[in-house]
């Protein structure tokens, strides 16, 4: 036993000495959601290119659970040697402190931010025979007939739930919220007209909107999206405060050495400049941050502002997980 321990210590010391040649073995990226979801897809597209820059494979490990907080908690407690990193997102690093009072990490303090990877814009959509077609009419209808309307979301803490909480707090409308397990079933009932409207990430919605099975009211970004050029922004529609995007960003555990952070941030930067990566992210309706927007410093600022923004909204919506 003792010998094993000694060997372990020696190995660790040897590693510390050779930190400048990071990485010398595969890097594990914890994605706190099941494979195949938007965050996972973005992580896979980005890491595929990062692996080439780093010269070592970045292996995705999906550790799902509790709105992503299980995986992020584990990753935050990993050895800060750069071999365990994670893909956080708006929920785990923005909304989580308001939703989970027993959270074992602090989004702003427990991490060494690497950089923003990609965001996906949020849309307000309705069933196809909804009485209103533009944002003004929609908000009007929401305020007068709110009690009759049902909003579909993917469960407390999901992107669709969080963003619609913002809509509720902005309009002060009293619509009924219906939770589904995931965006798929929620979308199904929206297409079938069982519920009236919802907010969700663009990636899930584009084909349905194009096929006319649901109706897009507005997109919550400053500019219109190239995938849906006909959908006006919330700014144009007269609700400029409704600006949200589901962002995904890479973090390392806190106390990760600056060299490692630099190597990872550099690899991410390079990946986001790659044409193929850009193309694939655009196909998903994703937005790629500009050069300043993807630095570790910018990410730290974003996390702080997001936590400050969501906490009061979610507390007001009464959505607090125990």
């Amino acid at each position: 036993m003792k010998r094993i321990l000694l060997a372990a210590v020696a190995a660790f010391a040897a590693h510390a000495a050779s930190a400048q040649s990071y990485p010398t073995r595969p890097v594990t990226m914890i994605v706190p959601f099941a494979a195949g979801g938007p965050t996972d897809v973005i992580a896979r597209i980005v890491t595929e290119h990062m692996s080439r820059t780093l010269g070592q494979q970045v292996i995705i490990e999906n550790v799902g659970g509790a709105g992503g907080t299980v995986g992020i908690t584990r990753a935050s407690q990993a050895k800060p040697d750069g071999y365990t990193i994670m893909m956080g997102h708006m929920g785990t690093h923005g909304a989580a402190p308001a939703l989970y009072p027993n959270l074992k990490y602090d989004p702003a303090k427990s991490f060494a931010p690497i950089g923003l990877a990609a965001g996906t814009p949020i849309l307000i959509v309705t069933k196809k025979d909804f009485p209103a077609s533009d944002l003004k009419g929609f908000v009007e209808y929401l305020k007068t007939n709110g009690a009759k309307l049902n909003e579909a979301n993917a469960g407390v803490g999901s992107v669709s739930h969080t963003t619609c909480s913002l809509l509720q707090s902005l309009t002060q409308a009293k619509f009924t919220r219906v939770a589904y397990r995931g965006t798929g079933p929620a979308l199904n009932d929206l297409v079938a007209g069982q519920v009236d409207f919802g907010c969700d990430q663009i990636v899930n919605l584009v084909p349905q909107i194009q096929a006319g099975t649901i109706k897009a009211i507005a997109i919550a970004t400053p500019e219109r999206s190239p995938s849906l050029p006909d959908v006006p922004t919330t700014k144009e529609g007269g609700l400029p405060e409704f600006q949200v995007s589901a962002w995904n960003a890479i973090f390392a555990p806190k106390d990760t050495s600056p060299e490692v952070v630099k190597a990872l941030a550099g690899a991410l930067d390079k990946a986001l400049d790659d044409d193929n990566v850009k193309k694939r992210l655009h196909e998903l309706g994703g937005t790629i941050p500009d050069k300043q927007g993807r630095t570790p410093e910018a990410l730290q600022k974003l996390v702080e502002s997001e936590v400050a923004r969501w906490t009061p909204i979610l507390k007001a919506a009464g959505a607090v997980a125990n």
Binding site: I4, A7, A11, R25, T28, I59
Partner: protein, 223 residues
């Protein structure tokens, strides 16, 4: 070793169906436990059900079923409790828990259990679990454990590329730096097979004649 516990008492006196009585009481206990667990959650209304509504009514249903079952055990002649042993479940549970805590290390309060990875946790868990039966033969078990782990390293690590810890980092670092990940995996699997082979050839098998590995040649049974 295997303590025979819970030997069925003969159905005498007021308890006519001990199995039903014990089963029923277990259900009642489970129901009470669940009721206690959801006691601080709100039940809500039909229009907007609270989190406790369904679990509470389910628990009451379970409790009623349990009570009726237990009552039937007093009224009707029923089954005795089947005898059970502790050795089997005990060793299997220890084996599985051992695997769980050593596969990637585990924090147990102040104690940190080291990560052994699949190459350590797998065969050790199998070896411990193997003692669940009385006719354990540690030599065969050891050979199988090592060989199977080698196969698992190739299958899960090399072929399927599962993100499962295979061995502790310090072990991986023992290899020359020029070895890439796949080579390390393959060499490790090779080492395990060599050890298994060494045990096979060097450790004499038991002389007990009853251990012929396949006991299925009983005449008349094979169709």
């Amino acid at each position: 070793m295997a303590a025979e516990v819970g030997k069925s008492p003969a159905p005498s006196g007021i308890v006519k169906g001990p199995q039903a009585v014990v089963g029923g009481l277990a259900l009642v206990a489970l129901a009470l436990f669940a009721l206690w667990l959801v006691s601080d959650l709100s039940q809500g209304t039909l229009r907007s059900m609270g989190p406790a509504m369904l679990p509470r009514w389910l628990a009451i249903g379970v409790g009623i079923c349990g009570a009726v079952l237990a009552a039937s055990g007093f009224m009707r002649e029923g089954h005795p409790i089947e005898p059970f042993t502790l050795r089997g479940p005990g060793m299997v549970v220890v084996g599985i828990v051992f695997f769980a805590v050593t596969i990637r290390g585990f924090d147990l309060g102040p104690i940190r259990i080291p990560q052994l990875g699949m190459c350590g946790a797998g065969p050790l868990a199998m070896f411990i679990g193997g003692f669940a039966t009385r006719d354990v033969r540690w030599r065969d078990l050891l050979i199988l454990a090592l060989a199977l782990t080698a196969a698992c390293v190739m299958l899960f690590g090399d072929m399927l590329n599962l993100p499962i810890p295979l061995y502790p980092q310090w072990f991986s670092d023992l290899y020359p730096a020029s070895f890439n990940n796949d080579t390390r995996m393959r060499v490790t699997a090779g080492i395990l097979v060599v050890i298994a082979a060494l045990v096979y050839f060097l450790v004499p098998g038991s002389k007990d004649p009853s251990i012929n590995v396949v006991v299925d040649d009983t005449p008349g049974v094979q169709r």
